[in-house]
């Protein structure tokens, strides 16, 4: 009984505190006031991707653009759920969610619908009936893989001996980015030297490439499913005196477009970096301002792939993540 009272009290305090922070940031005009947007996201410290994502949200949903932004960051699903609940109680107009986990959101989203709050998902999908949200703005990881593999085919190498370093098995990014390359292995156009997961870890990627070098097998392409693993792979090449990049023996490919990775491209040490765009805010803002229901429930974020040969410093400034 006591526990329950305590929990209620805590919840109340949370809601109040959220309400107060809301009040302090604006005068809270009812009509014709700013559009109230509540964003439930992962904390910026999670990754370079998230840092850029959070900054983008803050820039687009600014006061100048006619918004009143409230944010809550957590890596934990239950804390995110509580925050979303808080936003609903406060009465926001729109709820934007990048969920920590794909499950557990049914109740909260139903409440949001009852309260007339429109929900947009960004970056990550949630396992609920699609009537519960307006639209999901996400990346098409499979397309990212296809773009990268098409670029690789465009290099017209005599032979493709590929070291494929995969991300955490079962993640959206891994499945998407692996698919396109697997198709090439199956068709025989490219040879699989090794295909192994390094679970996004730089050191493990270095170990994998090092082991291939020690085994004496020949390879000329490294396809790493994120920037960090590409960096680890390149460290192994450097240690063994194998050249890489635009003038080297081995083609190096990464994903995510961190600024430091794009600088590697600019210096010619890497060849290709596929974008995984964290910039969904403008798309959602356009949808909100248009007032119309989106034509499709899933909106794919346009993404690029960068070739070291055509990369410019301005691209790094525009598309690079982190610092």
């Amino acid at each position: 009984m006591k526990k329950r009272a305590l929990a209620t009290l805590l919840a109340l305090v949370l809601v109040m505190s959220l309400a107060f922070t809301g009040c302090s940031s604006s005068d809270g005009k009812k009509s014709d006031g700013p559009i109230k947007v509540g964003v439930v996201n992962n904390p910026p410290s999670e990754s370079g991707y998230r840092e850029a994502n959070v900054k983008d949200m803050e820039a687009v949903f600014s006061k100048a653009n006619g918004y009143e932004l409230k944010t809550a960051y957590s890596l934990k699903n239950d804390e995110q759920l509580q925050a979303a609940q808080g936003f609903i109680t406060e009465g926001v107009d729109y709820l934007l969610i990048s969920a920590a986990e794909t499950t557990g959101w049914d109740e909260v989203l139903k409440k949001a619908k009852e309260a007339g709050i429109k929900v947009y998902l960004f970056d990550r999908m949630i396992n609920v009936d699609e009537s519960l949200y307006e639209a999901a703005v996400v990346s098409d990881m499979a397309k990212e893989g296809e773009t990268a593999v098409n670029w690789l085919l465009g290099q017209k190498l005599d032979v493709y001996n590929v070291i494929h370093i995969q991300g955490a098995m079962g993640s959206d990014a891994q499945i998407g980015r692996t698919g396109a390359l697997d198709a090439q292995f199956a068709s025989g156009k490219m040879n699989k030297v090794v295909q192994q997961t390094a679970t996004w870890d730089e050191a493990e990627a270095k170990k994998i490439v090092g082991s291939v070098i020690n085994s004496g097998e020949d390879f000329n392409v490294i396809y790493a499913e994120n920037d960090g693993m590409a960096k680890g792979a390149v460290a192994a090449l450097d240690e063994n005196g194998i050249t890489h990049g635009t003038n080297g023996k081995v083609i190096v490919m990464g994903f995510d477009c961190n600024k430091w990775a794009l600088r590697e491209l600019l210096s010619g040490a890497w060849n290709y970096d596929g974008q995984c765009s964290p910039f969904q805010a403008q798309i959602i803002s356009d949808l909100i301002k248009s007032g119309k229901a989106p034509s499709s429930k899933i909106i794919i974020n346009e993404e690029k792939g960068f070739d070291a040969k055509d990369l410019k410093q301005s691209d790094i400034d525009t598309y690079g993540l982190g610092e």
Partner: protein
Amino acid sequence: MKQKFKNLFSGGLGQLTIPLIAILLLVIFNLIRDPSFFSIGIMHNNDGNVVLAGNLISIINGASELAILAMGMTLVTAACGGQDISVGAAAAIAGSVFVKVLKSTSEITGLTVVLAFLCACIVAMLFGAFNGTLVAIFKIQPMIATLILYTCGRSIAYWINGGATPTVSSPIITALGGFIPGIPVPTPVIIVLVAGIVLKLVFRFTSLQLFTQSVGINGSAAHLNGINEKFIKMLSFVILGVCVAIAGSIGVSRLGLINHETLLIDIEMDTILAVAIGGNSLGGGKFKISGSIIGAYVIQMLTITLYAMKVSSTDVKAYKAIVIVLLVVIGSPVVKKKVDKLMMRIRKSKDRNTVKGAQS
């Protein structure tokens, strides 16, 4: 000379017998399997430097962090009769501090790198002193005492850089983790060499080795003889702290970034193993640092041999375990006794034969 040669065969190498035999077996095995295994190539890497490359270089280079940690671990083992299982976590902290300091300076120069390394050193020594205090003053079992830092170390490292994995790119860092322009030998190898020489000099000009051994063999007897037992134990942990800072900084420089979750992960176990393969008693007392260093190279040579046999990096651990079980069993007191007995019998029968021969 003849006597020395004889000693070699009658176990005169003492505790180095097992690690040297292990290396010898691995070398022979590799030479039979693929005579070109030890070939060294001269390559030009991406920075245009002339560098040495090959499996042998991979072994010597790859074992650098392990060798440095094994030096410190041997001292702790000898003085305290227990092991520090927090070296990996402490290295993550030291590495994070290293990067944090580098990041907070506007430009990475030789001076800032030295400064960053000194900061990492101080922090690692403090954590070493923390472990040392628990062990020397509160008399907690080393494994339990260091379990604390083992558990929380990577969380502390997480706080230092706010959970991100910041990258540091600078020619100096690249040179530290890779090659110094103009020198074809990997820098970590040179660092191990320098560390080994420094330690050797310390042993030569101080009584550290003797004191450590006496504390390890019998603490109270050492105390009665005027050796400050607590200080020696504490000192061993602080020295290990320096080793941790060096290993952590090498690890960071190799990749050019700090990942607090995976930097030198699981290295504590390999380090203890290196000490054990080196023939040192894990119960403390007499020790040979050279044994532990050879132990570190045995472990790395095993790994690279398995890689060369096209064993994938995920499967390596299992195969490694089989060989290590063999090594440890061969080095165990029970087997040693049996072998000694056997040798004695052979020698006796030989003597008898020669005596018989003389009579007839």
